[in-house]
Amino acid sequence: MSKIKRIIGRAVPIIGDDIDTDRIIPARYLKEITFGKMGEYPFFDERFNADGSKKEHPFNQAEYQGASILIGNSNFGCGSSREHAPQALARWGIKAVVAESLAEIFAGNCTMIGVPTVTASSEDVAELQKLTSEDPSAELTLDLEEMVIKTGDREITVQMPDGRRKALTEGIWDSTSLLIENSDKVKETAARLPYVAFARK
């Protein structure tokens, strides 16, 4: 697994609280049994009318194509646990999410696929959204070792649970390989739990 210490790129502001994963990816696209095409669908119903014509949305704007940092507000990614949501964002090109707050399951899912999610104060998020709305070409650096976002002379402090941060910066975010290494200890834990031994039938 690669070490993810720094994300450098342009940013796309997605304004609004409580943007749920149904809005990030409508459920009908969850009928696909692979994640392969998810990059075509982020915010689909907010980007396209029923006849296929485009609506106004940052993901449709030319100046945000190639942006790699999403700047959201509070409770971003709430609702359904569908990993299809971070998959859709990542396959569109998002490599990091900055928000006032993030839904727990969404943030965990992002870490699992190597997309850091960090939080910043409401004021700082508003400033970043304003900056990237006015100047979509502004380049941001999210530094996970210093836990700051730098742009121009400005430096903004960000937060992230340390376990997730360490997983990314040290390149150990493939939790499966960590977990299966301890299979003997898992057996010991299971053996201590009374219910594992209960007869079921």
Partner: protein, 475 residues
Amino acid sequence: MAKGTLYNKIWDSHSVTTLPTGQTQLFVGLHLVHEVTSPQAFDMLRERNLKVAYPDRTFATIDHIVPTSTHHRPFEDGQAEQMMRAIEVNAKEFGLNFFNFESGRQGIVHIIGPELGLTQPGMTIACGDSHTSTHGAFGTLSFGVGTSQVRDVLASQCLAMDRMKVRRVEINGKLGRGVTPKDVVLYIINRLGVKGGIGYVYEYAGEVFDRMTMEGRMTVCNMSIEGGARAGYVNPDETTFEYLAGREYAPKGADWDKAVAYWKSVASDADAEYDDVVRYDAADIEPMVTWGVTPGQSVRISQPLPDPGATGDDGDRKSMELAYRHMKLNPGQKMVETKIDVAFIGSCTNGRISDLRAAAEVVRGHKVAGSVRAFVVPGSMQVRKQAIEEGLDKVFQSAGFEWREAGCSMCLAMNPDRLQGDQISASSSNRNFIGRQGSPTGRTLLMSPAMVAAAAIEGHVTDIRDFAAEGAQHV
């Protein structure tokens, strides 16, 4: 923190080790699997040449994509049929327990876990579904995960997790007439907000929960996630044990006594410490209905809709303005009399037998309004069977409701049941998000099953307390 709580006890007993990231490796006692969030996880196992570590602790079923007009195969929708075949192949190849149609035990994953007695106090339970919080009703630590974490659980029976905080949500007093567990949880989310629970597990306690049935507790815990809490629980008690006794997978014989002793031991201690405590008065809760596009945008049925200008929070104001635009409703109006097009009774929140009984009680002897399309979708094949034995199917059908097969149906748009255009539905489900019920302009009003039934008959949102009074006059 949270010393002496059920959360801490279960967390500690299921902690395997500390990972190099500093996170805890947590053992998962029961892994529930459904067709939508698992196919990619099984593919990842194949790519890595891994097996399912504990197939005997892994139970799969089918719910989201299942058409509920008929379970006949092959499904008309080719994608749904393909997804169905994928889980059939995966269950067989990896040796999982699989509750398919033929087993007679298929249903919404959060309905069948409890009804089969698989869900037991003191367990950790994971599923690739956010409403896994439902199982907390039994005094478990249960949470939703994404597909890569489904892979983790399949491969290791474990998850890499960070410890959460515990908030005790205590409600004392007596619930008023017409106030159901659905109203209780909508009230809690309204008070604490849809993001109030981020980082927390909710412990529901107090007289209201002590008196609540298991099915009611499931409704409340189910919607913990709508308040931002990944998990919620009620401490196990006699009501819990009574529900479990005799269930198919519940402990039997000598194991039953051992089990009850263990179950009692996991309940929070009287002197447990909490990271936060909130207290509400049951008398303050009325029948609730959502008016907006988050489950927190709700109102007590007698109250007018809130004024966005009155909120001090800029984000909240913008959310409310968006909600009013989408819902085509106005501040100051009341929800009663709001016309509906669709009435949906079902889902993992309110698709259990007690929900169907409550709705049937309202419906009995009435007819669905001509302008409303109404349907009842039992949460599982067993719920459906029980309802038929009690004659509830006849009650619903003679009133003009469609009577369906078990599945998730119109709670989410993954099967043929969807809103059209900007239709308004009165729904017993859990999410009123924009587009949730299948139309980008569709509108959802969340409420209790009895309130959905009353709305179906009147053709508009109705205060169940008035409806009941009216019914009494007719007698």
